[in-house]
Subunit: 419 residues, 2 copies
């Protein structure tokens, strides 16, 4: 029988691997792809909750744990699920075997949040040639010194994409506990629609501003190598969302793809900045040195006068940021510091806005109609973000979703509700 199928890397997340019943269900999915004539490699996460348990053990053992030993401990979760899925597939009569990160090898640099440097595919190619199924633990690799390494939380998505790229797969399918990427959070907007297709750029903006379906890093990697991704449900047989390059095929689509929101930012306002060269650099340098990501920046500068500077940082970095800025204040870099955590960033995202100048204006008008005050604004080629009071999160997302024509038709909603 000639192989007319495709080469696919399938990735299953922690909720899909939580227990033998679910692993058996995953094995059924894999079996179906193989029966369709495809070459399949499978990347698995640890059982849901297992990585948290292992991380907690490390924290309890040594608050300042060695990342090298942390990797030894936490890499075990995916080792277990890879072995279990391989034997389950064998039990169904399939030719499956597990290959640990150090066995392929998946070469990685660093510990606890290692980067993948490369994947040797010689072993994988042999498995494909034998019509076998390689089951590979996600999240792990091996350093040049031969030590176990893990990729950081959510790293299994990155493992899957890297493997798909290295093996020149036709597609990387990410099975998860949601059935795709939506125009916005369906818990806020019941008429949110599942998207059939989004571009990598849109997915990056949607992910980084709150739609946590895929690890951002894995989307960036897929974009760099043009690897088509598909997000779909482990639990239901529904079409998912394809994530692909923007090749002008989006002409007929909505200008706006989705509305995202992110509650994980805090903003800092510094008052009384002296009007002299280097003032702003003196503020952001210590933050960068402390590894703090600054996002939106607004400066109210008036020539010859002292000015104010507002910017956002991740909520988790706020205390750290205030510490880092204390020395700048002592040195006369600014007068007062004001912080606020009761804010949310709301963004409209879409590759279509590249050719449409009116999006920002329409967004501001829509929010103004509801008396929603905008604290700060930032824009990119495919995104406009505003910072507003957290109290208005749901209202803002809903009115923008409607204003940009994203609401599902009532009939479609009924069909969805009935299904």
């Amino acid at each position: 029988m000639p192989n007319i199928g495709q080469r696919i890397v399938m990735k299953f997340g922690g909720t899909s691997m939580a227990g033998i019943e679910r692993i058996r269900h995953v094995a059924d999915r894999v079996k179906r792809e193989v029966a369709d004539g495809n070459q399949v490699a499978v990347v698995v996460s640890a059982m849901a909750g297992e990585t948290d348990r292992l991380v907690q053990l490390c924290k309890d053992a040594a608050p300042l744990y060695d990342p090298r030993e942390y990797d030894v401990v936490v890499a075990s979760g995916e080792q277990v699920t890879a072995g279990l899925l391989a034997m389950t597939l064998q039990g169904m009569g399939l030719n499956a075997r597990s290959y640990m990160g150090w066995q392929l090898p998946i070469r990685a640099s660093g510990h606890a949040s290692a980067l993948i440097e490369g994947i040797d595919v010689a072993v994988l190619e042999r498995v494909f040639d034998d019509r076998g199924i390689a089951v590979i633990p996600g999240f792990q690799g091996v350093t040049s010194e031969g030590a176990l390494a893990t990729l950081g939380r959510g790293g299994s998505d990155t493992s899957a994409v890297a493997l798909a790229v290295a093996a020149k797969a036709d597609r990387c399918d990410i099975y998860t506990d949601v059935d795709g990427v939506y125009t916005t959070d369906p818990r806020i907007v019941p008429r949110a629609r599942k998207l059939d297709v989004v571009t990598y750029e849109e997915m990056l903006e949607l992910a980084s501003v709150g739609a946590k379906v895929l690890q951002t890093r894995s989307v960036g990697l897929a974009m760099r190598y043009g690897m088509p991704l598909q997000v779909l449900s482990s639990f239901e047989d529904l079409p998912g969302t394809m994530i692909v390059a923007d090749e002008g095929t989006t002409m007929e689509r909505n200008i706006i793809t989705g509305i995202a929101h992110d509650r994980n930012e805090a903003f800092i306002t510094l008052t009384g900045l002296p009007d002299r060269p280097g003032t702003v650099a003196a503020i952001f340098r210590p933050l960068a040195d402390a590894g703090i990501n600054v996002d939106m920046i607004v400066q109210s500068a008036r020539a010859g006068l002292k000015s104010d500077l507002t910017f956002t940082v991740p909520k988790a970095s706020l205390a750290h940021s205030v510490d880092a800025l204390a020395k700048v204040k002592e040195a006369g870099g600014f007068e007062e510091i004001v912080t606020n955590t009761d804010i949310v960033k709301v963004s409209v995202v879409g590759v279509g806005m590249r050719s449409n100048a009116g999006i920002a204006a329409q967004m501001f008008d829509t929010l103004a109609e509801r008396q929603i005050n905008i604290v700060a604004i930032s824009t990119s080629e495919i995104k406009v973000s505003v910072l507003i009071s957290e109290d208005y999160t749901e209202l803002a997302v809903r009115v923008l979703h409607t204003a940009f024509g994203l609401d599902a038709p009532a009939a479609a909603l009924d069909a969805g509700a009935a299904a």
Copy 2:
């Protein structure tokens, strides 16, 4: 500072590694040995219950699981504890690192109950030279094909002894949840005494007949290479039991070292065996082919007449044995088969009996005084075993313990109880 200490392999079992508090306690023990100027390598088991949990997952995933994938799954338990102990030691300021079986490597053949073929000690020697502590997961190795392998249940004792032999250690200390080897089971005989020293041969007999302190295989390995073993408690600071070669230093000791019992045997009686050459071989060949260990054998042969044959097999192999013998019966190998599982094997063990012919007679007399019927007898150079009805287990052990002078003096017992 010149190193005037010894080179010691310390091994900690599952109850000693069950949870962070206990691991911290283990780390204290290790720290003390290092502070005394010793070179130390540590072998660890998985947390108590973890291997059982992983084995059950394999059974649930695929009743006829692939031993290769089974090894991938179950090897993870020791990986976790090795990493946790290494980071705990580091947290105490010690120079510790974990080394997986595949990293040293510990070379093994086969799967699920692999044999250790050899251990490369180059890495270990470097760690010793740097005054570092290598923490090594027990129970695991790597095959010549680069696959994970596990040694079978209790294999961590064997890992520790093999490592001690390969590294030319002065001693292998096995820390466990009992504080040494006793003259008999203290739950049956409160006046049982802890032995300061036993020979390898005695330990093998005591272990194989029921005193499950150490895996038999690890004692055999230590005996072959003359590696001194010490069994001691993880939880209490008490002297343990040394297990050493018999070098004539036992002259002053009791003739009998201990009384053991084993409830895991079943006996099979075959009646009506024809009196012709090859009859017995025709019975034991199919059992051997099925991998069943036959232990005690009694034949009531009378020249020219049909005879009976009685022997014991492990209880777990009884059904399998009866199956294997069905064909022999069809071929006229015997007339009837009778089985009995309500039996126990009680043994008196001691290297001193080599030079004392009266032990067996004294044993039979002691049991006869209590009207305990003997079903079968077997003897070796350092052991006499009898098969009796299971109902008499405790009585037989107690009267033999007293008859052979093993009871602790009443004063010692009080002191022990007060301690």
